[in-house]
Amino acid sequence: MSTSSTLTKGGRQEPGADKPLPVLHVTNIAKSFGGAKALAGISFTVMPGEVHGLLGKNGSGKSTLVKILAGFHAPDPGGTLSFNGKHVHLPLKPGDFRRLGMSFVHQNLGLAPSLTVLENLRFAHLTSNERTFINWRDERRQTSEALARFGLTLDPGERVDRLSPVERALLAIVRAFEEIRAECAATGRPGLVLLDEPTPFLPREGVEKLFALIRSIAATGSSVIFISHDIEEVMTITDRITVLRDGAVAGELETAKATHDQVVEQIVGRSLAQRAVLVHTPAEERTTFARIEKLAGTILRPTSFAIGKGEILGLTGLIGSGYEEVPYLLFGARPSRSGTLSLSEGPAVELRAMSPSRAITFDFALLPGDRQNASGVDSLSVVDNMLLPDISRFFRGGLLRRGAMLREAHGLGTRYEVRPNDPSMKLSSLSGGNAQKVLIARWMNRKPKLLLLDEPTQGVDVSTRVKIYAALRAAASAGMSIACASSDTEQLAEICDRVLVFARGQICREITGIELTKDGIAEACYASIDLAGALSITIQPRSRVDK
């Protein structure tokens, strides 16, 4: 027992020969929210020194699993967790993971941008209650040592917001490892660092550096769980892969023996060879509503496409691929680097000069994904939220006609089935789904020519979803053009006439007709990385931002 748990350099033992204790071993972890089962009994094992990939679509249960390990969610009774052979009582309390020797790097990295590298890296030590005095010289030395251990040359006094995105990610990972290093040294047992999608916003070269860091962590004998959507990355860095699908383990693969196609099959849930034959209504001949040329944003690189009149165009891809920027760029809500939009019945607009108020004069509408901060004001009433863009219509004879506003809002509430339909209530007193109906009604009521959506049904319950889909389809058949950015492939398959799949800031596929199914789109998203790789794209590294 004790010999097998000693740290082994490299850590990749041959199976069978003196099997070491797993670092993390979970069995039968389940979680349901209300009636919905997010996890249906998951078991998996992470060995010492192993880089373990965790793959799965959105909603497959990855993030629920992470939250259970982090102590955010209590799993349903019946599951077990052992760490380095020691049985751990479930549910974990928040923060417990650190005591075990486990640490997390989430996608937002959890760094304080205005503080220095040193302050971020030594955060736990600097704020510890056991300290009475801070020896800055010592802190500096410790920081430099920790960074040097992984070959990083960062100035401990540099502010984190002056670092490049890659440097920030590296710093966050080093910090995560530093957090558990003392624990590991004390017990002589390996630790576990869990990386939850650290790569989507990093350029290619940055990912290489990150992989080098992951390998050196694994070389100390500790283990790494690597969560990503990017199959190529997972295949490059991991030793083994666990694929989740619909809340269950769909498969466990040895990375060295698995092929890209096998992994996609596990994720999507069907073999690539047998494509579902589904008769989708063929894309009818449409007149073009607008043509977009060379649109570029922060991630998006010059991209051209067209939207037909009365068409619902889906925009998708893996997270960080740039599709999510498109609605905001077209509406002028975020600055475009370049691009023109030419309306077939109207002028051509330079998108760099686009602004929301200008977009509204073109009869565009945008429903942002961030409902609470960008879409509606929770502390104000439903009627005010609903009629905000056309408030001037109700100003007659020097007075705002409150009665007319309430009547119109009530009518809209009935049409879009807002429950309860009381326009004088605050938006915050409605459920997420009903609040979204209010905000959709706001824009639908203006009969925009182009409706831009970002994740229109996130956090919205199933029955509301169905109603929103119906409303969108009805609007489209009445001639409204709709562009919908979404990571929900099921939704896209349900409502879209055509879907553009983005990868690394560009359109890599267009899906129409019989391929336009939930699985077809998911498959294209995962396959997209290969395609983008094949195009041998060079992504400009985001160099240090000065000032």
Binding site: A36, P356, S357, I360, S375, F394, L400
Partner: protein, 333 residues
């Protein structure tokens, strides 16, 4: 992972709605109770029209100032410089009218323009250089206080044109000096704009959700600029009232209005239209504070109690409203 969250907000029970009504008029009730208590204690001196006439007139500048504050507050910006604007404007009246013998109407026009300029300078730093409004207006407060002392040689200038004094406190309507009605007029105009015009809705959305407002085509910066200029002009008007009430220009005492005005702005947001800065709430709150302080002074309580009363009333009122509502903080962060 579909998190099904279907809250079912049932229609509000009767008791709850009664609670709401009580909340709306609570401050008014407390004010009347206060008058009753003082009245019982000092029936001869406190409960007289003369006394109330003085309260209404002497706190009219404070009421105007509190009204000035709630415009940028609704748009999500602090304007601490209103007190200094009042001081500077009354100093300008003294200097130009008394020392330089400019006609009073021209002087008043210059003062209003000064208010506009103050708003523009604040806006320049807040909107163009993106410096927090609290910092900018704290700075301009100090700058203007200094300027007021400079131009007046740190002395009180007496002998302001009688016509101004007459227009402010020279006459009475229903026994109350004119000064009060200027503040009342401003409150009525503000009520109209806040509640009955699209501009009022825009102001509210800009304050509560900048991004929401922007994405709905509202020109957020223009609205904020308008609010800051409005508060500059209203505090200039408060300065005119102040000079009229005193009949002189005092370069020091104007700043004393700042805390009561802020107290009234926030206190006012707990009443009439709870949760929102509203002009009627402000009027009630200003005169509630004025009554409290006047009564205490008449009871012979030392001057320092005034500050304790103002500050205490503000914190207590906001706390009570927060406790009874147990919901989101007042709409400024």
């Amino acid at each position: 992972m579909t998190e099904v969250t279907e809250k079912m907000p049932a229609s509000q029970p009767e008791i709850f709605r009664l609670g709401r009504v009580f909340e709306r008029i609570a401050l008014l009730a407390v004010w009347l109770a206060l008058i009753a208590v003082y009245g019982a204690a000092m029936p001869q001196s406190f409960l007289t029209w003369g006394n109330f006439a003085i309260i209404f007139a002497s706190y009219a500048p404070a009421a105007m100032l509190a009204l000035a504050i709630i415009v940028p507050l609704t748009a999500g910006d602090y304007d601490l410089s209103v007190g200094a604007t009042l001081t500077l404007c009354s100093a300008i009246i003294g200097v130009l009218n008394v020392w330089m013998h400019l006609p009073i109407l021209l002087v008043l026009a210059i003062v209003v323009v000064t208010g506009v300029l103050v708003g523009l300078v604040n806006s320049l730093f807040i909107l163009f250089f993106r410096i927090p409004s609290l910092v900018v207006t704290l700075g301009t407060t100090s700058v203007m206080t200094g300027l007021a002392q400079w131009i007046t040689n740190s002395s009180t200038i007496g002998g302001i044109d009688d016509r101004l004094v007459m227009a402010v406190v020279g006459g009475r309507l229903f026994g109350v000096p004119y000064a009060f009605y200027y503040a009342l007029g401003a409150a009525i105009v503000m009520w109209y704009v806040f509640d009955f015009t699209p501009l009022g809705r825009r102001l509210l959305f800009v304050g509560r959700g900048r991004e929401v407002a922007r994405l709905n085509g509202i020109s957020v910066d223009r609205v904020r600029l308008g609010a800051l200029v409005t508060s500059g002009v209203l505090s200039a008007l408060a300065g005119i009232l102040y000079a009229g009430v005193l009949g002189s220009a005092d370069p020091y005492s104007g700043l004393n209005f700042l805390l009561p005005a802020f107290a009234a702005a926030f206190l006012g947001a707990t009443t009439i239209l709870p949760g929102r800065f509203n002009p009627w709430g402000v009027i009630v709150a200003v005169y509630f504070l004025a009554t409290g302080i006047t009564g205490l002074t008449m009871l012979g309580i030392p001057l320092w109690v005034t500050n304790v009363f103002n500050g205490g009333a503000l914190i207590l009122a906001v706390t009570i409203s927060q406790l009874t509502r147990s919901r989101e903080a007042i709409d400024i962060g």
